[in-house]
Subunit: 387 residues, 2 copies
């Protein structure tokens, strides 16, 4: 297929493929230089074509946030996947099915109960689950602090037994992983480098404690887009994970790790009305198209529901996306009050909105319209959702 | 199918069918009493089964926010649809296709340009488009103020001509419509009744001006859930629209038009971890399952990402849903600090989260798990998304 932007139904999601490739190469070459493997997080794209580009550039396996992602990406030929959300018993059977279908699946947990239950499930079904323990290095969510006695108790609860002769079954510790998600709230290179070092040091320390207690803890997995792009050394780390870097977004621009021009994703919309007396322009991209993510609301520059650009992707100074209803975007003109908005932005004219948060905006859409040179749409890549 | 809650993959969307029926009957009998037609907004459910229940209760036609909704509901047998977002030329052909497929479709516009272009399209294709003019009665979004001279100019730009002998083609004015969306920000019966009267009076006044200018303006369509439930008289109004009432949500409870117990929708999730030292419980319902809608953030009671209930739907005092990542909900325990959270809410245990905004949370899911008496799941109703 090949189409031009004006052929597209709006709102829709545009993906600038050249910019995406640039972002992929930037992260991969950086991590190659730092001497660590890279395992991108596929929750951002939920799209096999995007993940294949990451693998082609050198990524070794992927990270997912749901078992549905694991299932879809296994079907797309990706056979090394880390499910980076703590596993619960209700999902053990689904994980087992994926392993039996040929997936090299790594599971995550951070409790003695889950470790014991998973070990028992493996023993009962003749499989040896590969497990990472989640480490908390910034207090923002889940995981075990590096110095917490619980760390060794969880590792000890991962047990195997002989099954059918000499094959071991149960669950074994393959590594530790952490995600310094609080890096999203930072905005200077120094603060980000400090957080990256905190993330690295904490995860390496947890691995050290486990090794001292006699556990082989092969993998030390860290990462978030801001820390991955800010770490000055990754000594002791074996792999890095990052998700949103593949597209970038305004929140990432707010942290300073990219510029708005490096963002590969935008929402194409049409002007559907005007309120000249208030300086408003109404579009057909409301919160259903953008998501309700107001991630830049806490940053130095609040972009509202996104940065407004013309159809070529050039930012329009003075036009702010301040409000949104389900299928209405309300843009506020803050430029020259003499501007004839109806003439400059006639009904039906196209605009592009750069999103606050690529993961959230992407999830509102069923496909990417892939933008190639000359503003042509070269392909439509489906993405999946749900659980 | 019949299943119990513990059989369900989480997170998932639960719909309490008896409560939905109660909500449907409440609105329908109220509007029957007020002597007006009811045209529910299907953007909330995007689900044929829900809409069929609304029609069965007495609704006359539906309202939609996208032409994709119109297409899906026409396929489901609904043939009277108002597309309540201003039409733009890029969608004229799609509207024409729906009309030719048998849909009684009403379009909306609020500009001379759109009226003239639509009339020309109708004349060129031998169809007479049925049009409402959008009226602004609260300044919150789009539409023309009742006293604005533009109102008569738009009506005058809707023209028909003889086509193929005696059949008229073009576009004709069938009515006016308004939506007092700012009612969502109110929270007393008096303020809501005043807003309902403002919505009614403004829309009736616009119709009066059009009729005085010689236009047959048959339909006067008003509505939002809060105003529909608060209007004390609807003189001059011929139809009312409302969407979210079918499920209700915490934002509606915040306006006072329902109680949290009347909300028919919830998200079922599982506990996946604990942070006893901070009093946190981690679940598998993050913002992907809840949406990023923080609509109660501006209300008297801020529910965070939703109200936490046990698996029976009974609110759990002291457990607040304060933070969310993509696939992680972070609940904060604010009850007795001596409570053993791990024992009370073990890994894998089920919770139900009542949403802030039913339209936004619903859109994150591909189906409703329909909850019947005895906590049994009696059916799974698909819902669609996208454009």
């Amino acid at each position: 297929m090949t189409a031009v932007l004006s052929d597209l139904e709006t709102p829709c999601l545009l993906l600038d493929e050249a910019q995406m490739q640039h972002n992929i190469m930037r992260m991969q070459s950086r991590l190659n230089d730092l001497g660590v493997s890279f395992r991108p997080h596929a929750k951002t794209s939920k799209c096999p074509e995007v993940v294949r580009a990451q693998i082609a550039a050198g990524a070794r396996g992927i990270t997912v946030s749901t078992l549905k992602e694991a299932e879809h990406f296994l079907a797309a030929g990706i056979n090394d996947i880390l499910y980076a959300v703590a596993i619960v018993p209700a999902r053990f059977d689904a994980a087992l099915r994926l392993i039996r279908a040929g997936l090299n699946l790594t599971l995550l947990l951070d409790s003695v109960d889950a470790a014991a239950q998973l070990s028992a499930h493996g023993q009962a079904h003749g499989v040896d689950y590969r497990v990472f323990i989640e480490i908390d290095t910034d207090g923002h969510r889940s995981g075990i602090a590096p110095e917490d006695p619980l760390l060794l108790a969880v590792a000890a609860a991962l047990t195997t037994s002989e099954s059918s002769g000499t094959v071991k079954a149960g669950a074994h510790l393959a590594g530790v992983m952490t995600h310094a998600g609080s890096s999203y709230a930072l905005n200077t290179p120094e603060a980000l480098a400090t957080m990256a070092e905190q993330e690295r040091a904490g995860c390496v320390r947890a691995a050290q404690r486990l090794r001292e207690a006699g556990h082989a803890c092969e993998v030390v997995s860290v990462g978030s887009t801001p820390t991955a792009l800010s770490a000055r050394n990754l000594q002791g780390v074996t792999e890095v994970r990052a998700g949103v870097y593949v597209f970038f977004d305004l929140v990432m621009a707010g942290t300073g790790v990219c510029t708005p021009r490096e963002i590969a994703l935008s929402v194409l919309c049409r002007v559907i009305g005007h309120r000249p007396e208030t300086g408003w322009i109404i579009t057909d991209a409301g919160w259903m198209a953008m998501s309700r993510d107001r991630g830049t609301g806490k940053q130095a520059h609040d972009w509202g529901y996104g940065q407004v650009c013309d159809v070529q992707g050039t930012p329009i100074a003075g036009l702010a996306f301040n409000d949104a209803n389900q299928e209405h975007g309300v843009l506020h003109w803050q430029g020259d009050p003499q501007t004839d908005l109806t003439a400059r932005f006639p009904i039906g004219s196209l605009l592009r909105i750069v999103p606050n948060h690529a993961c959230a905006t992407g999830a509102q859409h069923e496909r990417y319209q892939v933008l190639a040179a000359g503003a042509r749409i070269k392909a439509s890549w489906p993405r999946f959702g749900g659980w």
